[in-house]
């Protein structure tokens, strides 16, 4: 197992990452390597710092007042923690999907073209092509192709979430961060988004890091899994392993208890 893990290409290396809100430590000393072209699921009880962890990876933590991060994150040759890097370009490489579907109060089409224009795609035909392409990718095209000008806020919850995924895909990121993307959706919409995540990994070899509270879902989609836990009042990484091992023969007894539904 250990050998198998070292053979896998790792895309992002995270070393001794800690994060504080004012004085309060949210999580501490997290070291892990994100394997390339695979789905890594992060599970753990509420408040153990999963969402906070994700915000460090695309430097969204910069926007949160009083939030300080320490440690090291390397993406290829790029040191993500370097304060001087271009966060706009970084966030284009690392897309993020939030728990609550949050399309902008604009038309469906503009939700996708607005970020594209921002990233310098000036040609309108090119943008139209991308709009159709990504809406096809998320399975929304047939549902909305006749009302691209309609306000995105009138879509259903599941459609909104797929639109948010589409507008992120339009920027062709290398990595997708997903923070409980299904937990605000009903079971059917949730199933659709889950299938979409699997297809993104299969068709386009995306590297996906997904936080989920749904262990069954993690089991279905993940190639790797990490367990975060609150130790005292501060989050820690308990175990990181290939999904097979994580769910069937974990090394740590806390993982064992958690995946068997005894704890958490």
């Amino acid at each position: 197992m250990i050998n198998e893990m070292t053979e896998i290409q790792s895309l992002m290396q995270i070393q001794q990452l800690s994060l504080r809100y004012q004085q309060k430590l949210a999580f501490q000393d997290i070291t892990l390597s994100i394997p390339q072209n695979s789905i890594t699921a992060i599970v753990g009880p509420s408040g153990c710092g999963k969402s906070s962890f994700l915000t460090c990876l695309n430097r969204l933590s910069d926007l949160i007042p009083g939030c300080t991060v320490s440690g090291h994150i390397q993406l290829g040759t790029l040191n993500i923690r370097n304060p001087k890097i271009n966060t706009t370009a970084l966030r284009r490489r690392i897309g993020m999907i939030f728990q609550k579907p949050n399309p902008f109060p604009m038309s469906i089409e503009k939700n996708i073209t607005f970020p594209l224009k921002e990233h310098g795609i000036k040609n309108a035909q090119e943008r139209d092509r991308i709009v159709e392409q990504v809406l096809q990718d998320v399975g929304l095209w047939s549902e909305v192709k006749d009302r691209l000008q309609a306000n995105a806020l009138n879509l259903s919850g599941g459609q909104k979430q797929r639109l948010c995924i589409a507008r992120t895909l339009a920027l062709q990121p290398e990595i997708l961060l997903m923070d409980e993307p299904c937990s605000a959706l009903d079971p059917i919409a949730s199933g659709i988004v889950e299938d979409l995540i699997i297809s993104l990994r299969q068709k386009y070899n995306y590297t996906i890091i997904i936080v989920t509270h749904n262990l069954a879902q993690a089991k279905r989609i993940a190639d790797y899994a990490a367990l975060f836990w609150v130790d005292g009042s501060c989050g820690r990484l308990i175990e990181f392993a290939p999904a097979e091992q994580f769910f069937n023969a974990p090394n740590h007894e806390l993982t064992q208890a958690y995946v068997n539904g005894i704890k958490g």
Partner: protein, 281 residues
């Protein structure tokens, strides 16, 4: 059971009270409006709007006064809109709640919003008319009004900006969209209804103003030829006709009706803009 019936009785009385107050307010408004329409409708015709006042306003129309009013209002808006929106952006986006500078500016604005207009008039007279040497002019008057409406404009725009959910900012940033574009394409549109409310309140306050204008734009009732000319506003004209000119009541009513129609028109435009805005989102 008995307690319940008693409770129901109290509920009924309270809900009656809740109906009574708005009814009363509406009734008073309609009464005032009715009075002005009844007194003024006879005066209102094309000639009234397009001719100059004769015999200190007893006869003739209000053309120069209408022009002065619109010019004063125009100066006020041209100056206060950019400064107001700029300050609101600075306060909402670039100063945190705990920042001493932001707190100082907010507190000062709240105090300014409550200052009586006569004080603005005296300030405008001392600063714009005398110190800057603009004299009694439409420019002085418009600038003084701008100072007066700025606090309302800034605070309501700022409230609109602050009400935009943090999710928009985070998801915008996560798509690599710059702060400027986020502000321009997401935050300002979302704050526009707040801005419009502030604008309508501000214009309402400005157009009804007499005290601040007497000392700044003056009350010459000739047609202005430049912004440096003195000009009489509608509200001053009404005040003058009803207080200082015997036999001016009919034209005072006519002018008041015009003033109210302008106010209603501005309200309608704002409502139309707001609804157009919501549809085009």
């Amino acid at each position: 059971m008995i307690v319940n019936e008693k409770q129901q009785g109290i509920d009924r009385i309270i809900s009656l009270l809740f109906w009574f107050v708005p009814l009363l307010i509406t009734a008073i408004f309609i009464w005032i409006l009715g009075d002005i329409v009844r007194g003024g409708i006879g005066q209102l015709n094309w000639a009234f709007l397009t001719t100059a006042p004769i015999d200190t306003g007893r006869q003739g129309g209000i053309a120069p006064i209408l022009v002065s009013t619109l010019l004063i209002l125009g100066v006020c808006l041209v100056v206060s809109l950019p400064i107001g929106i700029g300050t609101a952006i600075l306060l909402a986006e670039f100063t945190s709640n705990s920042n001493w500078f932001g707190r100082l500016v907010r507190r000062s604005l709240d105090v300014l919003a409550g200052v009586p207009s006569i004080v603005f008039g005296l300030f405008g007279n001392a600063f714009f008319s005398k110190t800057l040497g603009l004299g009694f002019s439409i420019l002085s008057g418009g600038l003084t009004l701008a100072c007066m409406v700025l606090p309302i404009l800034i605070r309501s725009t700022e409230a609109g900006l602050s009400a935009v959910p943090i999710e928009y900012r985070l998801s915008s940033a996560s798509l690599g969209i710059s702060r400027t574009s986020t502000l321009w394409h997401l935050l300002l549109p979302a704050a526009t209804p707040g801005l419009l409310v502030g604008l309508v309140l501000g214009i309402g306050r400005a157009i009804a103003e007499t005290a601040a204008l007497i000392f700044t734009s003056g009350y010459v009732d000739r047609m202005p030829t430049s912004l440096l000319d003195s000009g009489r506003s509608l509200s001053i004209h009404i005040f003058d006709l009803s207080m200082n000119v015997t036999g001016g009541d009919a034209n005072a009513y006519g002018s008041a009706l015009v003033l109210i129609l302008i106010l209603l028109l501005i309200n309608a435009i704002a409502a139309w803009l707001a609804s157009k805005y919501n549809r085009s989102l």
